[in-house]
Symmetry: C2
Subunit: 398 residues, 2 copies
Amino acid sequence: MVVQKYGGSSVADPDRIRNVARRIAKKVQEGYKVVTVVSAMGKTTDSLISLAKSVSSKPDERELDMLLTTGEQASCALVAMALKDLGVNAISLNAFQVKILTTKNHNNARILDISTKKLKDYLDIYDVLVITGFQGITEDEHLTTLGRGGSDTSAVALAAKLRCDCEIYSDVAGVYTCDPKLYPETKKLKYVTYDDMLEMAATGAKVLHSRSVEIAKKYNVRVYCGSSFNDEEGTWVVDRIPEWLEEPLVTGVSLDKNQVKVSIMDLPNDAKVVTDIFKRVAEKGINVDMISLVKNGTSTHVSFTVVPERLDKIEELLNETLADYGAKYHFYGKFSKITVVGTGMRSHYGVASKLLEVLSEHGIEPELITTSEIKISVLVPENVAEELVKSICKAFDL
Amino acid sequence: MVVQKYGGSSVADPDRIRNVARRIAKKVQEGYKVVTVVSAMGKTTDSLISLAKSVSSKPDERELDMLLTTGEQASCALVAMALKDLGVNAISLNAFQVKILTTKNHNNARILDISTKKLKDYLDIYDVLVITGFQGITEDEHLTTLGRGGSDTSAVALAAKLRCDCEIYSDVAGVYTCDPKLYPETKKLKYVTYDDMLEMAATGAKVLHSRSVEIAKKYNVRVYCGSSFNDEEGTWVVDRIPEWLEEPLVTGVSLDKNQVKVSIMDLPNDAKVVTDIFKRVAEKGINVDMISLVKNGTSTHVSFTVVPERLDKIEELLNETLADYGAKYHFYGKFSKITVVGTGMRSHYGVASKLLEVLSEHGIEPELITTSEIKISVLVPENVAEELVKSICKAFDL
């Protein structure tokens, strides 16, 4: 048994749908029962969102899910048709039919359960189940969607339920140490740990949605990332790198462009004040990143990064809040965030110093630095960021 | 309580969807609970069928239904969004959610039942239910579709279940005595009986799907046909014309183009032979119309009409069959079938003779004549058919 997920670009047109069907049929010939999860064709989801916005300036979330879920149902039906043409005993199934139970958060629901009984009943009859990704139903039978990248989550959750491997196919054949567009000499990873993958997914690598990696980690599902367009070897996302492979110091480098630094100067030295500011920021639904705090004898300085789209809200909030404290704020940017990820850092020193050495060779002092056990992020001017990524890749032999 | 059905052209784009929402909202303001049945947007169903055919030369019927049902779900979601924007307490519901139970005949299923409990539960909470037309589910939870015009059937079935009137809105404001494209002076009918409507629906008038009229007749649902684009008065389809209105002799005239006459000559005078031929025709799934049989002392001659697309199959079949009997066949055409419909014929003489009189004024002898209690059809040359329809309309004061 195996779960295979095919992304939107893999089923973007009739030719590609037939290609996906041939790949699945091959797996069936090898003796597998295949549970296939399919995304909506190409840019269908984006088109449906535009359509909704042309009907309503703020589409009702419940109804938007009712609309969006049609995308996956259509592509599943088409893949099942193509499979049946190849003589494969296949059936398409939507969220109702396999009872993919989720929370009630429309547009961003979380999977609560999937009916193993339903799956097993269908698998007794069919060799291939083609299941709608990205969607579920609530206990009250309302349709929900899982948010962007939700089809990855559907696939890994199904694999967790069925206790089998999960293969994620897209137009990228695996996980690279760095975006090949930034660093053409980038290497493909044979294995990557859940932890490294989580950091890389969160910091810009587009191969796997982070929630799917969280579920894979929780249920120890081995995830294979490969290309649906060729048979190039892909990447396994696993609990730990096999022992016969030396764990690399650094697994990958990622780049997040379009960051603005917000600096707040001369706050009183009072923990309540900083807490208050971040509480208000969170209440406005603004995601802040790279928080850095420096304290001297008389005052506290705080910096953090946000995406420029949120600046209006931040400005409004800071104007309200800071007047009470006599503090000032400034916006700087735009900058780029470079993140170096590697579970290997846990047991090795010198990653930070090596990274800063590369920056200083380019005459760059980072605007902000944040670290975790397995990653280091630096904020640098946008215009030198891509050049720096190349040098970092070379320095860490990626 | 009222059921309102809006066809594909009424929800073809965001503007029209908002227009439909305004019409429904008005009905809610008048104090109604509204159950709305919506078709897929514009030509969506046709596009989905083309898409299926570009993936598979003979799309699996079960999977085709899975694909087609997405069309109505999308338009329902959009109409519900537009209604919520107007402050109407509305919800979209698909076949799963209201348990529209059908037979297992994919692509051409029949409604078996609709859960009145589900409907009432939702109507307790919401003022408007926007329900997917054209689709249902089987007992095993497979999605089905009801065949062309199935949304009309969905609407009338819902009205039957809820014991209320059914309003069918399209781009035509009611039922006319004749297609206005053929006879611009045509009159709109204020009332038409189920029986006349059935004959007119079956012989080419496109306002209402015949199955929906059958259900309306069976459960005595009053059906109103109107335009979704203006407030022009439409037509009521009812059990009998109100007594204060004089029942017309002839209710309407319709035209079916593109008919081929098949004549089989010199068959033996044996009922088994004719039965055998029509049995074989039926087994090939060929619909024949206007069957006419003439017998003389030594042999039997049979004529009937088919659409030209079926000629290949008919030819193959007749070559196989007729050799045994030493009979010959010929194809003639193409012709057009003109049908004059009117429940009033039951109690009046002279309709047939008046009709033939009009034909003979044009120097036309009909190729075939068939009659029923409430209609007469004549097969005439295609090139004079439209002219004849005009003269017939004048003669019967339509």
